[in-house]
Amino acid sequence: MGRAPSRGVPAAYRRLMRDDPRDPRDPRLPTSPGFWRSPLRGPWFTSVLGLVLLAGITVLFVTGLLSYAAYNPDLSTVNDKTPDKGILGFYLFAWPTDPHWLYRLNQGVHVTLGITLIPVLLAKLWSVVPRLFALPPARSLAHALERISLLLLVGGGLFEFVTGVLNVQLDYVFPGSFYPLHFYGAWVFLAAFVAHVLLKAPTALRNLRQLREERNDLVSPRPAEPTVSRRGALWFVGGGSLLLFATTVGQNFGGPLRRTALLAPHGGAEPGSGPNGFQINKTAAYAGIDTAETAGDVWRLVVTGRTGTVRLSRARLAGLPLHSSALPIACVEGWSTEDQWWRGVRLRDLAALVGYEDDPPDVFVESLQRHGAFREAALRANQVADPRSLLALYVNGERLSPDHGYPARIIVPAAPGVLNTKWVARMTFGDL
């Protein structure tokens, strides 16, 4: 199929095989199978791409649901951007603090893999596009419903990829808040995806196992002369994925590796030099932090608990027993820093100050920041109890910079970046 015509073939046939727009038999409508000329289309090509997407999107879905759980949305309304989730939150669990790189890995995989899969998704959609125009529009009720389901599959899938890609570039043009859109969109997409997989995966596997290709409606009845083999086309798609991967993955590492992420939002050089020079999610200026409020003689940390309220200046906090932990900043946007060396007061020591000596409870943390969905955040008792969880005053041996949360910030192992509240003003311990 798709070989160049050999000598001896009638001239009229040769003309047909060539890409001649003047040929009267050239079907002009995309509803005609002869409209689609690429010799690459066929069950084998589509099946390979489909199975790659099956594996990849499964990983995207699992890491996405884990990331959702990592916010502990069932703990407090301030963590929950989807309060009407209903049974879609059925699997939620107390997000652990071990291993401390858990969220970093999860989100790095989610975003990097999502970006890497884009060429595969585009190629898959290209490979089946003749079916969009196929006539009759429906052969049976089941077929009609399947085609409606395909709209949810293609529209929902593209919606997920587009909102994700826009969000990591801070381009908030989508109609609503990212969290509910990407979360509920994922479930709509998943519903169509599972049905599609159950209907198609057996055929896809059979197509790959068979050495001789079976024919189907995707194979062009009048293929153009090939410019690349099917295998070559797959390498082409893989090359696109590799290029995206290579220019993105580095934003999860430090040093020279980050510089390889040439086009990723947090690739390239670090924003500064020195101990505070690592990546920033939102700067103090962006969050609306007023330096008058963070000045040493003004700022007080208000800690409330069982025994009442205490107010601590930064100097008094620095006089409490200080501890160190090496923890990363890992953002939902799929970038992270290497472990930074934080130094500060243990959260459980702060809980003990207000009456929770042996039984650290949940904590509600409020920031000075004016903007941002997470200027208030809740941490669960297991996160408060972890000895590595700190209210950090120093990083890498130096005072926190304003952009990293001066006068004091939360740092918790394995928690999503935004739950590590910066510019902390108030902490309320107690069961939420």
């Binding site: 989807t82 884009i118 293609v154 159950l198 410019t227 690349v228 939102k282």
Partner: protein, 160 residues
């Protein structure tokens, strides 16, 4: 070709398919109601629009561009050069498509003030990658042509 539509009776299809699709729609509706709870028109527009924009605009555009390249090279009898143009152009276009907000500078202000990073690096980087892709492709083509020429010289003259 059987055309059940024409016979006046519409076939139902496999009951198993119907059951599976009903389950799928039930879950999609449960999540969809929540997805559409805010700006329902905007969200519906985005989902349907994404599918239509891809299938009816993006795909025809790149297919037409590809056809133009193949035809153009065919006209000058250089059809075998197609991949040397197609690969760098597609890879460069792919990077532009994915990182368009950063490369085009449309999020410059927010990006700079939020991350403290310079947004103006992305356009030159993309141009540089594009130049490397086309340059590398041209180099490969030159190597291939030189090899072909050498092979043609070594071959004994054709017998007529």
């Amino acid at each position: 070709m059987r055309r059940p539509l024409m016979r006046g009776r519409f076939a139902v299809g496999s009951p198993l398919h119907l059951l599976l699709l009903s389950c799928s729609f039930a879950l999609a509706a449960y999540a969809g109601v929540r997805l559409l709870a805010g700006d329902w028109f905007g969200v519906a527009l985005w989902i349907v629009g994404a599918a239509l924009l891809h299938d009816l605009v993006l795909l025809p555009l790149y297919a037409a561009a590809d056809r133009a390249v193949v035809r153009g090279l065919g006209r000058v009898r250089r059809r075998e050069w197609t991949m040397y143009v197609r690969v760098p152009a597609a890879l460069s276009g792919l990077l532009l498509l994915v990182w368009f907000p950063l490369i085009s500078g449309m999020v410059d202000e927010r990006y700079r003030s939020a991350t403290g990073l310079p947004p103006e690096v992305f356009l030159p980087r993309w141009l540089l990658i594009t130049a490397v892709l086309f340059g590398g492709s041209a180099l490969l083509l030159v190597v291939r042509l030189l090899r072909l020429r050498r092979a043609a010289k070594c071959r004994p003259p054709a017998v007529h």
